[in-house]
Symmetry: C2
Subunit: 188 residues, 2 copies
Amino acid sequence: MTMTQKAQLMRIEQFIELSEGNWRSMRSGHSLAFQQFEQITSHIEISRLDLKEPDVVKLLEQSNTSQYKPVAPFRMSWEADSDWNMIEETENTSGSCVLIPVPSSIKKGLIVRSLGYAEAIQAISDYVLLSDGTLILKTNYENSIAEERIWFVSENVRCRSTVIKTSSGKGIIQTSFASEVRKINPKT
Amino acid sequence: MTMTQKAQLMRIEQFIELSEGNWRSMRSGHSLAFQQFEQITSHIEISRLDLKEPDVVKLLEQSNTSQYKPVAPFRMSWEADSDWNMIEETENTSGSCVLIPVPSSIKKGLIVRSLGYAEAIQAISDYVLLSDGTLILKTNYENSIAEERIWFVSENVRCRSTVIKTSSGKGIIQTSFASEVRKINPKT
């Protein structure tokens, strides 16, 4: 099967399977109004969880998504490299969250997350998988809307872009882009 | 019509129409092997050309694409801000190229370009428009393959990501990401 055929058949479960593991991330942020750049390197670990795990059960209970069946829950943990010059004081330098996809059809659904991206609160994202295998997540927060796009460039390289809009959807506050390379030896 | 409906109906002509104008760009580059960041701000101008323009006629003659009808040719010019510290010596700080889309179906075709992105030579890219309006360009150069993605976040903000692979397609050399904001007053 070619990469294009694989992408067309991709479901969220496969996307998460491909994402499991340890990644080294280079991320650049663009503050559009001030034309400021920000850059950070970090380590990311993505690991599958069991549907019976207490954290998963609890998060699902709170999410009010019981009309559909959850699949492939996972934990994402991150830790920034300790080059403090590069890090904004407000940035979370390490953390962890639980994410649970709840498909409503083959290519669409919700992802329940214990922590959001734009705001550090529990959140529910809409997801859609495009025909080329790109995963798009949209999340409405209290004060902002985030659109994340994640796609595989190869088996071991993912790209992830994020756009943060004002809650009206009209103003663009920030964009960011991460290149994530799989670590073959997770200890490095 | 909603933005989603517009995106689904989008053809390359509309995409270029939305792109016309003056843009201020923030671009970040990631060299994956060396974990190096690069950043640059620049000005971009995109302007439509006539199909009878000599540069357009000449480029089409050389391109061997006469089985399909070209549409919406345009010129893209760029000029980096003169903060030399930020610029790699090898970087082209200003330039201009002619691009001519040649659709083979509603959502697919070729784009003939007088200058490539990864290598400064005449090139032909394959393009496809995804269902959400994202334009994907793939270009095979002599020593590399480039995949560019361009999408509108709002009427006045475009994002553009680029991945440069080795010519075998297996190694990823560089990624980059640009946030482009339309200049309402082009003189700033």
